[in-house]
């Protein structure tokens, strides 16, 4: 798969269960898109997350800010999206603080379930449409949505359809139709899911993909299996672990000027066994994932240096590029 193929749809929605690394993957995809010369906007949805910190930046606001050359970021909340919507649609400014207070937004969300998500997606539509439709004065080639965790993500991308079905007539229905056209067109929008090779995240990924294809009719991109330990030891070496003679190892080390004791050897052997035990678990779940989804799966390594910072994002971007090319 080519990078251009991955980036063919302008909107990439990245989601996954909490703690699987979807924000890290979103950031790495942004780096990849920016490398091709595309102007990228990463949209953080709802809660303020860690995305800007991956670029050494503070919290994002509703106005896009440049996080690194060619990569912009913004945070979309339903409150802000509603304020902007009222402003653009009804030219309301003076009253709008009342309408966008938390209670009013809660009220709207309760009266019309899904409207919060719809307002957020509507903002993404504005970003996609560019300056012509208002709501943004920039044009972006790629919009990456760091979406809510998978469970909520389904209601999130499903909101326009639910809303469309609930509202029989009127100008709102038209606008929902535009948003729906965007979401349901795989040439414009695709969802990629990030998972770790563990039972629950894999099960949730498979369920989510089924719902996206079936009930929601939304296109999918590649899936990302994150945090995989690389295989370091050959099968023969693993069997040899059982017969490791600490004295031999200590002597070998001493010949290079390295002083080891028995505890060091036992610790190093334990880490080798630990690695293999974790890898066996991961392989099992990866097989389940492969059997459960048709999408290409990009395998991402466990990063032993995994702090939250730019160097890790660059490493991850390099790996994704290389593995996409090999798919």
């Amino acid at each position: 798969m080519k990078v251009d193929e991955l980036l063919a749809p302008r909107i990439l929605v990245v989601s996954g269960k909490g703690g699987v690394g979807k924000t890290t993957v979103s950031a790495a995809l942004a780096v990849i898109a920016a490398r091709t010369g595309r102007k990228v906007c990463v949209a953080e949805v709802d809660e303020k997350g860690s995305l800007p910190r991956l670029f050494g930046h503070g919290d994002l606001s509703y106005e896009p800010t440049e996080l690194s050359p060619g990569i912009w970021g913004l945070n979309i909340t339903a409150e802000n999206a509603l304020r902007e919507y009222l402003h653009l649609q009804y030219h309301m400014r003076r009253l709008s603080h009342v309408f966008t207070g938390t209670h009013f937004v809660d009220y709207l969300a309760t009266s019309a379930p899904g409207i919060n998500d719809l307002l957020v997606i509507r903002k993404i539509w504005y970003l996609e449409q560019g300056p012509a439709k208002g709501g943004t004065n920039q044009t972006y080639d790629t919009i990456i949505v760091d979406a809510p965790a998978a469970g909520h993500m389904l209601t999130f991308v499903g909101a326009p359809q639910g809303f469309y079905d609930a509202i029989p007539v009127g100008p709102i229905r038209h606008q929902v139709q535009w948003v729906l056209d965007m979401i349901e067109d795989p040439a414009r929008t695709r969802v990629s899911l990030v998972t770790t090779a563990e039972e629950m995240p894999v099960a949730e990924t498979i369920e989510t993909v089924e719902a996206l294809h079936g009930r929601l009719g939304v296109g999918t991109g590649p899936m990302f299996a994150n945090g995989l330990y690389d295989g370091l030891f050959k099968q023969k070496e693993l069997s040899a672990l059982n017969d490791v003679d600490p004295q031999d190892m200590i002597a070998l080390a001493r010949a290079t000027g390295l002083d080891l004791d028995k505890d060091d050897i036992s610790s190093a052997v334990s880490y080798a066994r630990f690695l293999e035990a974790r890898r066996a678990i991961q392989r099992r779940h990866l097989r389940v994932l492969r059997a459960g989804v048709d999408e290409p799966i990009v395998q991402l390594p466990f990063l032993f240096s995994a702090g939250l910072g730019a160097p890790d994002i660059i490493t991850l971007a390099d790996v994704i590029e290389a593995r996409l090319a090999a798919l």
Partner: protein, 382 residues
């Protein structure tokens, strides 16, 4: 005895809190399971709709009523259930209906509220409702007095603090001045928004009608109308729940992973508990990479020399390389956790390392419980 076993012996309520994806549900289930092996009659209340607990406990389905986990599950895992373990999943709507039934002045009014569309939406969409009802259900279970211990898992919010504020957020919403300012004139005007004298309220109602339609306004007006007279009951109950959470029978167990972000959340959460005067019990650090020994300081030059040697030397090179990589993670995790040590003394910590088996079945849960309740945490030296 580990700090968690002490809580199991002395407390009636254990609240498991932490950000999403740190293994909260698993910890709650493992605590419940261990309590049952110690002879307690224990109920585990989970809120996570992913039904993870159900699968871990081998139950097909969880509901708002407690299900007994069969003693055979225990014996199959080599354990003896001296007590009884029950598992249940919060049903927000049913719990809310029961609250309405309790506080409505008449059955007729209760039915009117329960049949209202706005009310039905509240239970599925209004933020804070799930958290509020979790606390309500906990209160009920405790008041009924059928269990020695109740272990509750908190909602899977990204923000671990949400559930502390939830009851107040919900009652604030019901009493919101902004909403009542607009909706009460509408109700008084008999639903005719054009007749509302207040200009601002008129504009508000027109916009709302455009966005969500007129029926919605009628539903809402009816809902807020029938809620009159019930606020005091809600508030009284919120006070009682708060008092229970603050009392000596309750203990909060904060769960975190060693990842920077969840540690930051846990640190913040610990100080919030402290500020709110809520009883902190223990910190569980989940999914820690195990420390098998001290760092080996091998130089790259030494490793490359080994790489050119015999098969055994090459194996040693790999062993050292792998040890170095894991040690880097172990040390990174320890650095991440350092800040927490200033907030929570280390004797209140329990570390649960990544295990060679997963906590998705009963024996897996038992392995987690072993780690949680071990007298000394094996393989995790400090």
């Amino acid at each position: 005895m580990s700090v968690v076993s002490d809580l199991v012996d002395r407390k009636e309520i254990i609240v498991c809190a932490g950000s999403g994806g740190v293994g909260k549900t698993t910890a709650a289930a493992a605590i419940g399971m261990h309590a049952a092996t110690r002879g307690k009659k224990v109920a585990v209340l989970t809120i996570d709709p992913a039904r993870r607990l159900a699968s871990s406990l081998g139950l097909k389905e969880l509901s708002n009523e407690p299900h007994r986990v069969s003693a055979r599950k225990f014996s199959a895992a080599g354990l003896e259930a001296k007590g009884e373990l029950y598992a249940m999943m919060l049903d927000t709507k049913t719990t809310f209906d029961q609250v309405v039934m309790k506080y409505a002045p008449s059955r007729e009014q209760a039915e009117k509220i329960i049949g209202n569309r706005f009310y039905r939406n509240i239970s599925s969409t209004l933020s804070g409702t799930q958290e509020y009802m979790a606390m309500e259900r906990l209160y009920e279970l405790h008041a009924e007095g059928g269990y020695d211990l109740i272990v509750i898992d908190t909602p899977p919010t990204r923000n671990a603090l949400d559930f502390l504020d939830a009851p107040r957020r919900l009652t604030d919403f019901f009493e919101s001045r902004v909403l009542r300012w607009f909706l009460i004139p509408y109700m008084k005007a008999g639903g005719g928004f054009m007749r509302v004298a207040n200009v601002a309220a008129g504009t508000f109602l027109r916009i709302v009608k455009r966005i969500v339609g007129a029926e919605v306004l009628d539903d809402t007006a009816e809902f807020f109308g029938s809620l009159e007279g019930m606020y005091d009951g809600f508030k009284q109950r919120a006070r009682e729940v708060a008092a229970l959470l603050h009392s000596q029978v309750t203990s909060f167990v904060v769960i975190t992973s060693p990842a920077e972000q969840s540690v930051a959340e846990a640190t913040f959460f610990a100080s919030r508990l402290d500020e709110a005067g809520l009883p902190f019990g223990a910190l569980v650090v989940n999914r820690v990479h195990p420390r098998f020994g001290d760092r080996i300081e091998a130089r790259p030059r030494q490793i490359s020399k080994l790489e050119q040697g015999s098969a055994e030397a090459r194996l040693l090179a790999k062993l050292l390389e792998n040890e170095e990589a894991f040690m880097r993670v172990v040390e990174l995790e320890e650095r991440n956790l350092e800040g927490l040590a200033r907030k929570i003394p280390r004797h209140r910590w329990v570390r649960v390392p990544y295990l060679e088996q997963e906590a998705v079945d009963f024996p897996g849960l038992a392995a987690i419980a072993d780690q949680l309740f071990a007298t000394t945490a094996p393989a995790v030296r400090r």
